[in-house]
Amino acid sequence: MELLRFTTAGSVDDGKSTLIGRLLYDSKSIFEDQMEAVKQSSERKGLQHVDLSLLTDGLRSEREQGITIDVAYRYFATPKRKFIIADTPGHIQYTRNMVTGASTSNLALVLIDARHGVIEQTRRHSFIASLLKIPHIIVCVNKMDLVEYSEDVFNKVVEQYHEFASKLDIMDIRYIPISALNGDNVVNHSEHMPWYRGASLLNTLETIHIGSDQNHLDARFPVQTVIRPHDVEYHDYRGYAGRVAGGIFRTGDNVTILPSGMTSAIKSIDSFDGPVAEAFPPMSVSICLEDDIDVSRGDMIVKNNNQPEVSQDLDVLMCWMSAKPPRPGAKYYLKSTSREVMAIIKEVIYKIDINTMQRLGQDSDIKMNDMARVKMRTTRPLIFDEYRRNRITGSLILIDETTNETVAAGTIHS
């Protein structure tokens, strides 16, 4: 059974909570006592219906305000796959949450109200999905029951989205007409829409091909820590522990250690369960080298014939996540894979209006939830790939050295 991580975004009215509630309920991932608690809370609030958003909005302040503040992670499984939903609020002030949810997802679920078609929020969510290189998008045209299950209405929404999405960098987009409330095309094929011959939403989630989402070409192994047992049996053992971030490693491979540039060969790839013939993403293993050379946390083991960039100058698309704007000339801790360096933002090239996707060249004033293309300079070299080639080795975060807060997330462009 494989694992599929997907993200959703939406506001109170577009049926997102209902859809998630239905996926959880129909896959028997909501338990009777949880359902009972939600029913009782709904009744106490004097609601006519069972408010499924109460399943996801767990924090006191969210319940009080009736809004989702933070990314909530939800889990369900079918006999075919296990799913992790990163459920994020859709309001513009929560761009940082959408970016967070998108960062670990293979798929984005975009909900469109059939009556309203593509709206600002649809564009925003889709744009963020494309900036974060989510490989698959499923567009659910929801509330089909309110437009008499009309094929025409569905086709118009599809056309509208298709035109907008042609400006985005998204490889795989699918469209499904649904009614989350009535369950049409959610789990089972709807009797109300015989004109739709595609798969139901759940069936699509279960079968969409995600095996090629990982990078299997460029071998990258960021070293997290060094394992040295210090006992008699393993006296000279030195294993470099990490998780494969790209490509496939095999015993005997000729490798280079970055940033030092020293070379060696892989003596063995180890795990608790025994030697591993081939290590590929996202496996956690330990690599032993033939030569006794200096390798430590923050270094990267790569193959000789395929190397990442090593540079102190970065071109980054950044999402600013802190209420405090960046301070001019300030140094930040920059973390990327297991490597940490200091960095400054040298220049704001342009800001992006995430609603219109326009570049704002004149405005270099960065605030919370802004997306901006910036130039950065680091104190020591960073080891990276372009984000579009590798989402692990092409991503970074910035940490404020005075507050220790995570203030920005970035994707590296060169």
Binding site: F31, D33, R74, Y75, A77, K82, R96, Q214, A277
Partner: protein, 302 residues
């Protein structure tokens, strides 16, 4: 073992947890594993063993002893620590009460659950623990659905849910000031079903309390509360002899069991997959209010 270039969901979850545990050891000076004796912390300990093999787990276990334990839990803990050859730190609720640091709850619903917070924070401070790893999962409870892998705690050990650090990709920010610490949850993305399937797959030893057995218990608030020297009967309640097992293990005074015939791991997996209520549904500490878990977490509960 790996024929094609993809992992099963359990392999992927295992790899993610090992990655998180290695980050903890790399980023912190004095990490520890919070060990309750329950299945989740047993799984975290197993994963830590895998993460540093062939070296020993490079951190101690911390156990918060409420004084109201199942005897089996303590025996299991001591055996495991001896086998792993690592240090055990015990934080005692009784000691906190004796020192006047905590006050025993009174009345029929009294439990030492809240008092664990004091003993835990004391142990963290005394041993200068800067990262305490636990087996909490996001699927357990609403307030946990928004918990981070790396959860920052202030100098009072408190959690601020509205001011959490965003966590992107798998880049974890463990930076902190003096006196602050982190709670880290390597199996955040696991469900109860995943934990049981993993225990079965890896054949991990767990306390006998999880398997169906005969014991004296009283029916209260929808589950079977075990008889013990600490149990106070309410009007109309009577002790019965039941074939039962526990789905979670905590303080003996608040951990209710279910009637069950599941006496093997295979049968437990089948029972859990067919079951219709959450495991924490049998914990009376979570039933106090809609946000009782959030309130306890803010104060420093695991």
């Amino acid at each position: 073992m790996y024929n094609k270039y993809y992992l099963t969901h359990l392999q992927e979850l295992e790899s993610e947890a090992i990655y998180v545990i290695r980050e903890v050891v790399a980023q912190f000076d004095r990490p520890a594993i919070l060990f309750s004796g329950g299945k989740d912390s047993i799984v975290v300990t197993h994963l830590a063993r895998k993460a540093f093999y062939p070296a020993k787990i490079p951190m101690p276990l911390i156990h918060i002893d409420t004084g109201h334990n199942f005897a089996e839990t303590i025996e299991f803990r001591d055996r495991l620590v001896a086998e792993l050859g690592i240090q055990l730190i015990v934080g005692s609720v009784q000691e906190a009460i004796n020192k006047g640091r905590a006050v025993e709850e009174e009345g029929i619903n009294a439990s030492r659950n809240e008092l664990q917070i004091v003993a835990l924070l004391d142990a963290i401070e005394e041993h200068k623990i800067d990262a305490a790893m636990g087996g909490a999962r996001r699927d357990e409870e609403k307030a946990r659905a928004k918990e981070r892998f790396f959860s920052h705690r202030d100098e009072f050990g408190q959690w601020d849910p509205k001011n959490q650090r965003p966590e992107l990709w798998n880049i974890f920010n463990g930076r902190k000031r003096m006196g602050e610490h982190f709670r880290v949850f390597p199996i955040s993305n696991w469900t109860e079903m995943d934990v049981w399937n993993y225990i079965l797959q890896e054949n991990i030893p767990i306390p006998s309390l999880y398997f169906a057995h005969h014991r004296e218990a009283v029916y209260r608030d929808g589950s079977w509360l075990p008889n013990s020297e600490f149990l106070m009967l309410r009007d109309g309640e009577k002790i019965e002899y039941k074939h039962m097992r526990f789905r979670t293990l905590g303080d003996i005074t608040i951990t209710g069991g279910i009637e069950s015939d599941a006496d093997t791991l295979e049968k437990i997996v089948m029972e859990v997959s067919a079951t219709r209520s959450t495991e924490r549904g049998h914990r009376s500490d979570d039933k106090r209010s809609d946000t009782s878990m959030e309130d306890r977490k803010k104060q420093g509960y695991f």
